[in-house]
Chain length 193, copies 2
DNA sequence: ATCATTCTAGAACAATCGATAAAGAATCGG
DNA sequence: CCGATTCTTTATCGATTGTTCTAGAATGAT
């Protein structure tokens, strides 16, 4: 019973995600979000509770769609170091020159400092780290390590590298230099076999 | 002639810098800045023009004091790879657990996306990159490279790693893991000799 | 058709934002 | 002391913020 939803939730979340990536959480106003989602303020608050609720839904959409989609596309299970390399390189191919930042990076920075660690940021970082670790253990070198401690450490190192790349991309850094840095990193990772 | 300034500019910039590091540019209100600087709003606008002016001055103070200070302390000219290692490790020793982010990282993210690359961010990133490159060429391995192309690429890679570390620190990441990642990176860099 | 229910639309809310204006306080040269 | 100049304070501005309220439109069950 009750009136039927008129809006397409996917499209709404996609539009909201766009705005949050561009302007950050604080920088995105409800009016911005109205324009980007096609929803009027009243509907937003009815459907998502408040701004934080819409953001949470949009962040979930990002993790589900953009992040997991990129992982599955470039670094699926079994793709090993080569998959990871493609995953990293794919960060450079975003058409909008860093105007759409990575929500994880941006929110780790924007929400950081407070004692409360944002659960969606943590989940996303955890997924990345787990993926890195898994693909690393597929490589010959890391298999030999029984407890996988080396893979853990390398995964953390790659996680930092990954986040830093996104910072520099967002900052307008020249992409050819970053491409070289990525190639160097993975060439070195491969020759460690 | 005219009335004498009552406030200590260094103290004011330090207070403002504190707030901007904690809350970001958008998240820092004039009222916050009043409290942190001891200046009343009117004085702020008289002395710095507007919020962006105060921010610019505070950012300059950060680059001059915090950034250059850290470089000179941990990675002075001639300190080579060992200096760089100490520089990276020093990021983990900030007492306030990431509550004071790195202004460079935070602003690269917050101001990123716009076509205009913030000059202070660019200057700071440039200083870091130049420092990395210089210390790298002091190491035996890199000297042999005539044009120093390899040092350039490694400097960029380290710059990304550096920024990524700051993102993870800001995000509340466990520091012992990050310490291991840094040690691994520089151990590997040293064994490349 | 009626009713409860759910969604949408639009106006309006108090609070806060960055910024300004006006007036007093302090300094210096004359 | 005077007047010109510079700084500090206070009050206040219009705009925008996130949010709420209210009325209306659409649905399914009875």
């Amino acid at each position: 019973m009750g009136r039927t939803r008129e809006f397409d939730e996917e499209a709404v979340l996609k539009g909201a995600m766009h705005i949050f990536r561009k302007h950050g959480y604080q920088g995105a106003s409800i009016r911005d979000l109205e324009e980007a989602t096609g929803l009027k303020g009243g509907s937003i608050y009815h459907a998502f509770g408040d701004k934080a609720g819409l953001f949470d839904a949009a962040f979930g959409h990002y993790n589900r769609t953009v992040l997991e989609g990129r992982i599955e596309r470039f670094a699926p299970p079994g793709s090993g170091l080569k998959g990871l390399r493609e995953l990293f390189l794919s960060l450079l191919d975003e058409p909008d020159d860093g105007s759409l930042g990575c929500l994880i990076t941006n929110m780790a920075v924007e929400f950081g400092g407070g004692a409360d660690r944002h659960p969606r940021v943590e989940a996303a970082l955890g997924l990345l780290r787990t993926t890195f670790r898994s693909r690393l253990t597929e490589a010959s070198t890391f298999v030999r390590d029984a407890d996988g401690a080396k893979a853990d450490r390398t995964a953390t190192r790659l996680l930092a590298f990954y986040q830093g790349l996104l910072v520099l991309i967002r900052g307008g850094e020249d992409k050819s230099g970053l491409r070289q840095a990525i190639e160097d990193e993975f060439n070195q990772l491969e020759t460690m076999s």
